[in-house]
């Protein structure tokens, strides 16, 4: 899995299919602070990812 982190860095992760929420937590990121695009499309964090999926973890902002 190719993972784009909120700071723009990239990581390659080889692990079995897992819930995106778990993957995000394992990367030390609070799932409440991010949304995750799987292969270019934002998906709910209870969806799973693995194999050759590309995940982009986006820290969304709330200020105005």
């Amino acid at each position: 899995m190719l993972i784009s982190m909120p700071d723009g860095s990239r990581r390659v992760l080889s692990r079995s299919e897992a819930r995106i929420e778990e993957i995000v937590k394992d990367l030390g990121i609070n799932p409440e602070e991010v949304i995750v695009a799987k292969n270019g499309r934002i998906v709910p964090d209870d969806e799973t990812a693995g194999g050759s999926d590309q995940l982009k973890i986006v820290r969304f902002v709330h200020g105005g």
Partner: protein, 256 residues
């Protein structure tokens, strides 16, 4: 008296070459300009985002602008909230906004409301409005705007910033996902760092979307979230879709 004078002046200059809107009439014609003039807008918030949104909407000639904010101008606002000046410290932001907007374009109607947007008053505040511009600074207040947009079936132009980062998307009830489809949960509350130029980028994108929507030009940010990273100097987009499990719209825009 002043209004009479300015509308007369507007007509005198309105020959398409010398008029206030000549440069944008090149883009969408007199017809598009008339559409902007007949559009009534709610700008929710007169802070950093609200400042950029309000200035550009007023200058572009959106005919009726209602701007709502309950706060007063503080010194720490002035690095980014360009509607307000040093002399406005302590004044209600909505009233300061009124003066700035009337100054930049006396041909439009501006209404300033000094209130906190809430479940109780949101219906009244949106009375007669064709669209909602998001200049809020928290997700709970954005969810309120999202619900109101769904209820009234009017578009919500979303934007948010923090530091060098920002995001924007366009919500059209019945045709796109709603804000809660995209962001089912609010992030933990925190004071966002902010520079004016990020507010300028995101507020300007929101206004560009509103102009496109009204004049029927271009491709809107429908089901697309635009992400601005000022530190990297990078714009990206990710797509999203209406969610059947959305607590607000239950995937209303799925079949559009």
């Amino acid at each position: 008296m002043k209004e009479d004078y300015s509308s007369m002046r507007g007509e005198m200059l309105g020959d398409g070459n010398r008029g206030r809107y000549a440069r944008q009439i090149l883009l969408f014609g007199e017809e598009g300009q008339k559409k902007l003039k007949s559009t009534r807008v709610l700008i929710a918030g007169a802070g950093g985002l609200g400042s950029a949104i309000a200035f550009y909407m007023a200058a572009a000639g959106f005919g009726r602008i209602r701007i709502v904010d309950c706060d007063v101008v503080e010194l720490s606002n002035l690095n980014r909230q360009i509607l307000h000046a040093q002399a406005d410290l302590g004044r209600a932001k909505a009233l300061s906004a009124y003066d700035s907007l009337a100054g930049i374009n006396p041909e439009i109607e501006v209404e300033a409301v000094v209130e906190r947007i809430s479940e109780e008053n949101v219906d009244d505040l949106l009375q007669g409005c064709d669209m909602i511009m998001d200049g809020m600074d928290s997700f709970p207040s954005r969810y309120l705007l999202n619900r109101a947009a769904l209820k009234r079936a009017i578009p919500l132009f979303h934007g948010a910033i923090s530091g060098y980062q920002g995001q924007a998307t366009t919500i059209i009830p019945g045709k796109t996902a709603c804000l809660s489809c995209l962001f089912p949960g609010a992030p933990p509350p925190a004071t966002a760092p902010a520079i004016g130029s990020t507010c300028g980028v995101i507020g300007s994108i929101e206004v560009t979307e509103a102009i496109k929507y009204v004049t029927g030009k271009g491709r809107l940010l429908k089901n697309r979230l635009l992400l601005w990273d000022g530190l990297e100097g990078c714009l990206e987009e990710v797509s999203y879709e209406p969610s059947l499990y959305c607590r607000e719209c239950r995937g209303l825009g799925r079949d559009a």
